[in-house]
């Protein structure tokens, strides 16, 4: 069969259908094909049929053309349906399979479809679906890879950022080709995320894209591309140019790239910025740089700035505060450094500690000392020891850093020998509004210890989050490094936050102390839901036999109080209870609870059951 003629006829008939049947009568292009069809019809009757139909169409009137066109179209389409090509010539190459352990596809449509919709549509409530599905491990299904990648463009940036940071890295660089195929140099929002993710997954492969993005990309893409630079010496010239760009975000990205390069010019650019108003933009690069020249320049800048402040006759606290702010920014750049230059710079600042203590501004001299103690605390062992040795002479703002330094640099018993005595001054928490200044310094130190150790992990985390650009993502809980003597002393003095934090499984003394606290809870004497939650958390952690009963008591107690909002934190602990014991007890409890609270408990109970 001469397919070429049929295809020609199809094209002409399709053209007429697009234009409307009124143009069909007498259509000369179709008419020209009729003789060819008639000739082919001598060999194959189907061509004759097509020729007849085409003739009817060409000979039709305006009135009959629509029917003739429909007849013709139906016929030609039917024939072409039988002529579709199927194979493909060429060497069959094996697929480079990217098996990254995600082959499960047994998730039901009812679960997976809402997730796909959350990733591919708009509207409220989607972030929760995405986060919940991520927590349940639903993304380990190969059918979700593509929707997850498309969600990089989500109009709700929180979803897109969550996907880029938490979800897509699950799949590793197997998704690189997909990211690449969707990458648009002129794009906004999702495209910069795509470029940075490509660079994160495969820096070598992404390099040409980064370079192209710098030349031809949209503004957002260019900034993202600059953030990816600094891994090759050839980036230097471009980054130097961009470090002087008009746009702030471009300058910030360029400085960051320069901080990754080992080149004299890059160092000079960073040194120049130390004395410039762009210092705030350069804090991260100055903190991250390994260039000895730049680090030395920061040290000099700190010395100069300190001298300038201490010798200043300025009375205006606000103006002085601005100078102190600059010093604090510079100190951020040496936080986490362990070199001797940093050591000397920080020690020099401590030499003037009395002057700093007396400097009143906002921020003031005490903030400087705290920043110095923070830098020493995360510095070398020698720096930490120095801070410990100086702590009796330093203000209370430096005390926790000194204690943490001791924990890092000294043996646990030596830490207790140095700091344990302070705890003996503890007489309970200060009244609201009382400032540390107004208190006895030793009591203030004891209170700091109780707050810090007692709040353990949370406190440590918030403190670490205050340290800009700190390298330690997940700090250790301080209580795990302490001598058991702290627990004994806390029990002896009945310092409950410390008992809760330091209690260990199988220790009779701490078990008794916890039992006493539990009894008070059972008697309804305890109303503070933070304390209650903390006690139950500890009981669960220690696998204490009273853990489930304490939970039941606490829920029941809080359900009657006006502070039932505290239940949110408490109920999150249900999933950690011993399953066999907790399920029946909680099920019985639910029947006694008000409807709204019962609903909340049910959700957590289902979670426990499903474990």
């Amino acid at each position: 069969m001469s397919i070429a003629v049929l295809n020609q006829v199809y094209d002409e008939v399709r053209r007429i259908a697009i234009a409307g049947s009124a143009v069909a009568p007498g259509d000369f292009r179709l008419k020209k094909l009729i003789p060819l069809l008639e000739q082919a019809g001598k060999k194959s009757p189907v061509f004759a049929k097509v020729a007849d139909s085409a003739t009817s169409l060409v000979d039709s009137s305006e009135k009959t053309a629509s029917t003739a066109l429909l007849e013709m179209g139906t016929l030609i389409n039917s024939i072409l349906y039988t002529q579709g090509e199927t194979g493909l010539e060429g060497k069959l190459e094996p697929i480079v399979s990217k098996d990254f352990g995600v082959s499960r596809t047994q998730t039901s449509a009812r679960l997976i479809k809402p997730l796909i919709e959350a990733l591919t549509t708009t509207g409220s409530g989607r972030l929760e679906v995405v986060k919940d599905s991520h927590a349940r491990g639903l993304f380990k299904d190969l059918r979700l890879i593509r929707p997850a990648i498309l969600a990089l463009d989500d109009v709700y940036s929180e979803i897109a950022d969550f996907i880029a940071a938490e979800v897509l890295p699950i799949y590793g660089n197997a998704i690189y080709p997909e990211l690449e195929s969707q990458f648009d140099l002129k794009g906004k929002s999702g495209q910069p995320r795509r470029l940075e993710l490509m660079h994160r997954l495969d820096p070598v492969k992404a390099r040409p894209w980064v370079q192209l993005a710098l030349d031809e990309g949209s503004k957002e893409i260019r900034v993202a591309a600059i953030r990816c630079l600094g891994t090759s010496a050839e980036d230097l010239t471009f980054l130097l140019e961009q470090s002087k760009a008009k746009a702030k975000d471009v300058r910030a990205a360029a400085l960051e790239g320069l901080s990754r390069l080992d080149a004299k010019d890059a160092s000079n650019a960073l040194i120049a910025v130390i004395h410039h108003s762009d210092l705030e933009l350069a804090l991260r690069p100055l903190h991250n740089t390994e260039s000895p020249d730049v680090i030395a320049a920061v040290h000099s800048a700190i010395d100069e700035q300190a001298k300038k402040i201490l010798s200043s006759k300025e009375k205006d606290k606000s103006k002085l505060g601005k100078e102190v702010s600059r010093l604090l920014s510079l100190l951020q750049c040496v936080t986490d450094r362990k070199d001797t230059g940093t050591e000397e710079t920080l020690y020099a600042l401590l030499e003037d500690r009395r002057k700093w203590e007396g400097l009143k501004a906002d921020p003031g001299g005490l903030d400087v000392l705290e920043a110095v103690s923070t830098a020493l605390c995360v510095g070398s062992t020698a720096m930490q020891r120095k801070l410990v040795s100086l702590h009796p002479e330093l203000p209370i703002e430096c005390f926790w850093n000194a204690f943490e330094s001791a924990c890092a640099a000294l043996k646990p018993d030596d830490v207790f020998a140095t700091f344990g005595a302070y705890l003996k001054s503890y007489t309970g928490p200060s009244k609201k509004g009382a400032t540390k200044k107004s208190k006895d310094i030793n009591h203030a130190r004891a209170e700091t210890l109780v707050e810090a150790i007692g709040d353990g992990y949370r406190w440590t985390r918030s403190r670490y989050s205050r340290l800009a650009y700190h390298a330690h993502a997940e700090p250790k809980t301080i209580s795990s490094t302490l001598s058991p003597k702290w627990l004994d002393l806390a029990i002896e003095m009945d310092v409950r936050p410390l008992i809760l934090q330091l209690a260990v499984s199988g220790n009779k003394k701490s078990n008794d102390a916890l039992a006493k606290m539990y009894k008070e809870l059972a008697d309804g004497k305890s109303k503070d839901f933070y304390q209650i939650s903390e006690l139950i958390e500890v009981l669960i952690r220690l696998q204490h036999p009273d853990a489930t009963d304490a939970m039941v008591q606490a829920i029941e107690g809080l359900s009657k109080s006006t502070a039932s909002y505290g239940l949110y934190w408490l109920l999150r602990l249900i999933k950690n209870l011993p399953k066999d014991e907790a399920i029946p007890k909680l099920e019985t409890l639910i029947t006694r609870l008000p409807e709204k609270i019962a609903e909340q408990v049910v959700d957590h109970l289902i979670e426990l059951k499903q474990q």
Partner: protein, 480 residues
């Protein structure tokens, strides 16, 4: 009767109903829980918002067709109370033997009487109200005339001159087809008009418009065939009122005939004791029908025939109509009804039991796979050339390997006959081709693929979309 969580989830109309039902059980809202002495019915009293507790029950008198009843006013079926009752059973709540309450036993009795009546009536020859039928057919013929007028107008206008506004106007006129007992014809016309606007009703872009011309041209051909064949069919029925609906072709369904199970049974379209395995599943929004459609693709383990289940959920009653879900077991069906159709007919059943899929089931499915691509292609082409045929038929194919040729995914059989894999033109199902490179290497050679064929009108190429890989130990779903 084994009731486990999977059973309850399958019985629940949606995930919320399952969750709410479970919460009722956990909250011990069931004041009394009982079962009949023959364990055929489980019932209980559930405290709701009203003064009196609701009496809910799960009746397993016919195990493959459980009946859920509840005295609550919910329009969801089964309601959360019945679901909660099942959860109470799973979670080991104490049920005691008790006499069946009168309100349930009377309903049970009524249902039994109705079932018996139905059985008796099923054996009686069907009485046809000839004058009513004639009136209906005349209305349908008038509807066909209207469809013809509209179609001719569209052809005169030309595909290139259509736009979203005109499409909406035509759809408004097409509502008369629904009034003329031709919902299928109305949907067919909408299948044409919906091509001219985006999902949100916006006008298509220029590129978008050009991409739909070939499809629109094909749809016009379908409408033309539907008019011709539909008119002839209706006239034949008008001439002979005793004539049963056509079962050799799908013309009755095209016009919108809603098949009753009895009609299918009368036509001999019923099989007994069938075991089915779901190979793929999908849920899509059918704008033309104004419904969400849940589609299951199933294989008869014994015969290898592929059938599809379709659950239509109109937009207006989405909350109350139970959604179907993917199914990972073997469905054991006493009576399987098959709708008229050729390659992949629609199938339906009234009740089923289930059992886990075993290696022998997968082996049976793999054995049914077509090994010769050339023969299958011939069959597909022969099928899709008919204007009113299903243009995207399903087959299970055994391939020697799947690889790449010039950037295209290609499946090759043992005789080195090839088929190109593509997603183009099959937007109702999620994309799946890109998943091939994410599969373990072992799944790309000497395996079985569940494939949907589609002729790309612009590329003039017959291609397949992979829906699942049936391996020796599992079915890897590539869509839903």
């Amino acid at each position: 009767m084994e009731i486990d969580e999977e059973f309850v989830l399958a019985a629940a109309p949606n995930t919320d109903a399952a969750k709410n039902g479970r919460a009722l059980a956990i909250k011990k809202k069931f004041t009394k829980l009982h079962y009949s002495d023959d364990e055929s019915i489980w019932f209980g009293y559930c405290q709701g918002s009203g003064k009196e507790p609701y009496l809910c029950s799960a009746d397993f008198a016919v195990p493959e067709k459980p009946v859920y009843r509840c005295s609550c006013p919910s329009r969801q079926f089964p309601c959360k109370h019945s679901i909660g009752l099942l959860y109470a059973k799973i979670e080991g709540h104490a049920f005691t033997v008790c006499e069946i309450p009168e309100s349930i036993s009377s309903k049970r009795e009524k249902a039994k009487v109705q079932a018996d009546k139905k059985k008796v009536e099923a054996d009686k020859p069907k009485q046809v109200n000839k004058s009513a039928l004639a009136k209906k057919i005349k209305a349908q013929l008038d509807g066909i005339d209207l469809l013809e007028t509209l179609t001719r107008d569209l052809v005169r206008l030309g595909i290139g001159n259509m736009n979203a506004k005109l499409a909406k106007e035509i759809e408004d006129q097409a509502k008369q087809l629904g009034d003329a007992y031709l919902p299928g014809a109305q949907a067919a016309l909408r299948n044409y008009t919906k091509l001219f606007y985006e999902d949100d009703g916006r006008e298509l872009s220029n590129v978008g418009r050009e991409s739909i011309f070939s499809e629109a041209f094909d749809q016009l051909g379908r409408l033309h065939s539907l008019i011709g064949k539909g008119r002839a069919y209706l006239k034949s029925r008008l001439d002979d009122p005793e004539l049963a609906p056509e079962t050799e072709t799908a013309i009755a369904a095209w016009l919108g005939h809603a098949w009753q199970l009895r009609e299918l049974k009368d036509a001999g379209l019923v099989e007994e004791n069938v075991e089915l395995v779901q190979l793929a599943f999908n849920t899509h929004d059918d704008v033309a029908r104004q419904e969400i459609v849940d589609t299951g693709i199933w294989m008869n383990v014994a015969t290898g025939r592929i059938g599809i289940t379709q659950n239509f959920r109109p937009y207006k009653s989405l909350k109350y109509v139970k959604s179907d879900d993917s199914f990972f077991q073997v469905a054991q069906i006493k009576e399987l009804y098959t709708y008229p159709g050729t390659l992949n007919p629609r199938i339906r059943w009234d009740g089923m039991l289930s059992r886990p899929i075993e290696a022998k089931d997968l082996a049976a499915i793999r054995k049914h796979a077509r090994v010769d691509f050339a023969e299958t292609i011939k069959e597909v082409k022969n099928h899709i050339k008919s204007p009113l045929s299903d243009k995207c038929p399903l087959f299970v194919l055994r391939f020697a390997r799947i690889g790449m040729v010039n950037g295209s995914l290609v499946a090759e059989d043992a005789k080195q006959q090839r088929l190109v894999l593509a997603d183009a033109g099959m937007t109702d199902e999620p994309r799946s081709c890109h998943l091939m490179q994410l599969l373990p290497q072992a799944y790309l050679t000497e395996q079985v693929v569940v494939a949907r064929f589609k002729h790309d009108l612009d590329a003039k190429r017959l291609q397949i979309k992979p829906l699942a890989i049936v391996a020796e130990n599992e079915i890897v779903r590539l869509t839903l």
